[in-house]
Amino acid sequence: MTVAKELAQSGVSALLIERDPSLGGLAASFCCKASESCNKCFACVADKRVLEIRNGPSISILTQTELTGLKGGPGAYNVSLKNGKGRMDIDVSAIVIAAGVDPFDASLKAEYGYGRYKNVITARDLDEMLRLRGKLFCPSDGRLPKTVAFFQCVGSRDESIGNLYCSQVCCAYALRLIKAIRYQYPETKAAFLYMDIQPAGASFDQFLNSCRQDKGIRLIRSLPSKVYHSPLSDGLRVRFVDPLKGEVAEEPFDLIVLSVGLVLRKDSKSLARLFNLNFNEEGFFAPPPAQTGVFITGACSGPKDIDRSIIHAKSIACTVQQYLKGRS
Amino acid sequence: MKAGSNLENVLSKGLFAVTGELGPPKGNEVSVIKRKADLLRGYVDAVNVTDNQTAIVRMSSIAASSLLLQMGIEPVMQMTTRDRNRIAIQSDLFGATAFGIKNMLCLTGDHHTFGNQVDSKNVHDLDSIQLIDCVRTMRDQGTLLGGEEKIEGEIKLFIGAAENPFGDPFEFRAIRLAKKVAAGVDFIQTQCIYDMNRFKEWMKMVRNLGLHEKVHILAGVTPLKSGGMARYMAKNVSGIIIPDEIIDRIVKAKKPAEEGIKLCVEQIQELREIGGVHGVHIMAIEWEQMTSQITEMAGLLPRPKVA
């Protein structure tokens, strides 16, 4: 979206193609994670972007549309599109792929029991719960959880599933969720189980300190090994190494939130085939050679948060625009 | 001799002077003065009579001073510029000298908001240095301030002033003393000293300016009664510095009051050794009974009889 907007502003007309019915991608389903003040989650930015795009004078938008074919070569591509109304072929000079990412499928980490235990949810589930229902509850019985554990690096930095990269967004994402929950429900205590706290930025230190000072938030440097479930009470017990005592501990929690990593969207394989794209070591799109007129941006080139995706997109827009200039 | 007071005599003979302090009653109860006078008589050369100290209304220092005279003790009448304009000041000095008061201490005075009449209007027609100048003019020229107006009779006063080596800016404190000397001060009583290092440093600056030869400096001391008092003073009274080790010593002592006296005596002995210090001013606030013990332990007794 940002690419289209920036190009439009530089006088290049752009066509935006989205497979889903609405714009915004993953970011559009996030909730606001403010506590007493804004915690810089950028979720509201996505909403505003959608508006701005609809506003843009030389952007055409096709939603619920899929790419089916590609003809031509650098500088003069002809793409085939398909949507509910039918098929069409369009000539374009350059193509920008911003196919985005999916959250990691948490059920692949069987030891955490996602999909089997109702009270094990992903951070995204929690996000949607807060955005649309406006409250926090245990999915099993609807009561307010007293204790919530956040597991970090679910599907990232994990050799066992082959995802040898940091998803870069989940620490801040989870901590902001914790902060928002703690603000709304002071009686709910949270534990944050992690490897390293990743984010950086001018205000992050301040934010992290406010988390550390909060007595209701425990930051535990240890990734849990297993979740046990009691079918009678729907209670959950978490097994992890207590870094302070140096021994294995088991602790009960009402709700477990998995901070799932980012993976390339499932349907990206077909895009890759269509555009003859390579994958990098991490399994994301590698940037295609210059002069092909095909560009990659956003999280599909490697995990990025909203802020960095936008910067990346703007930067790519600059490249695209210069590429076009160079050709004409 | 400028005034011929006992204090002036002691100091001009080069003897180590001792002065005490007496707060007049918050009313007209003369017995209070008498009781305190009895506690001080014979242990000091002169007694400061405060002028509505900390802006608490008390018997006027002129009246209390003349009562003290009647009881056979030489007073140092304190006078602040807070409550009087130059008319009242000069008229009061006529009266005071008429009663036979020979020492005075020129002060600006504690701010009225510290006292029990916070709604009053302060005067500050003059400041302490201008007051010194005023008294000196009256004594030496025999005229009123700034005027040609001759005074009927003679104003004989030994002029004192206070100085606080613990106020800021520290580097200016000795220069300010020089200003007082230039204005005509004869003796100086300092704020109570606990930070001996800073005081010594100040005295060094004073000596460098040659002031110790022009003015008699009496070092101020106040015995600490308790750890609480030490802590309170250190925290709340501007212009008093009490080093942590002293607070510690009093706080940790089994009998803090005794330790306070002991400390005070040690201080006096140390002060005596400093060049340019011509005496001590013992401010045993509401603890006058200790003056005898302190002077005795410090070896300051008996007080000299000088004619």
Binding site: - | T113, D125, Q130, G167, D168, K179
Partner: protein
């Protein structure tokens, strides 16, 4: 500039107790700048007064006006028509403005809506501090541009007193010690010797308020 602070609403309500129709007059000069009596404050105060009186069950009609400068006779004259319609005037200009209106409208009671506090400087936005007492004989030349008359709690001319501690005044600990400021400033200018001179007793009775009503007459300007 002149600084003022709005009086407590209850006090103003008391003044206006027996009136049902008033003019609330602000001033477009100093009190606008110190946000005590500009057009905005006039609107706010009028609204608050109307509501308070409505709540008491004795509605008040409050007209609003904000002349450019209330202390000028011409501007006061602009209010004449409005003043005729009301029983009393509440002025949120400084004490000068209140008196100008009082002089101009002999038949209408004029009440002050602000306390005129001092001549001051803006320290930061929303914070003003006293700088001048209009004492009538400026000595800033001797004190490095810091006024002890306005800024020393004891108005010392030969300060600082013993209560100066770490640059602050013992009387108001949040306030800077004026003499420390003078010291620092002269020190910075390399003119510390200026502080060694004794400033003699001031001639208050000739130069200052203490001499009775002060007045400036410029014969050449008179028309």
């Amino acid at each position: 500039m002149i600084k003022a602070e709005q009086k407590p609403l209850e006090e103003i309500l008391l003044y206006l107790k027996s009136y049902d129709r008033i003019l609330l007059s602000g001033c477009g000069a100093c009190v606008t700048v110190c946000q005590a009596g500009g057009e905005k404050e006039v609107g706010l105060l009028a609204s608050a007064l109307r509501m308070a009186r409505m709540k008491m069950g004795t509605p008040l009609e409050a007209l609003e006006a904000t002349p450019a400068r209330q202390c000028e006779p011409e501007f006061a004259a602009e209010l004449s028509e409005t003043v005729e319609k009301v029983e009393a005037v509440l002025s949120v200009a400084c004490g000068v403005g209140v008196q100008t209106l009082a002089r101009h409208f002999p038949k209408t009671p004029v009440f002050p809506g602000v306390n005129t506090t001092f001549l001051g400087e803006t320290v930061t936005h929303g914070v003003w501090e006293e700088r001048c007492q209009a004492c009538g004989n400026c000595i800033l030349e001797r004190t490095g541009g810091v006024c002890p008359v306005a800024r020393c709690a004891k108005q010392l001319f030969n300060g600082p007193c013993g209560g100066s501690s770490k640059g602050k005044c013992e009387i108001k600990r949040e306030a800077d010690c004026a003499w420390q400021l003078i010291y620092d400033r002269l020190n910075g200018l390399g003119q510390l010797y200026r502080m060694e001179e004794i400033i003699p007793a001031r001639r208050w009775g000739v130069e200052s308020r203490d001499s009775g009503l002060r007045r400036i007459v410029r014969e050449d300007l008179k028309v």
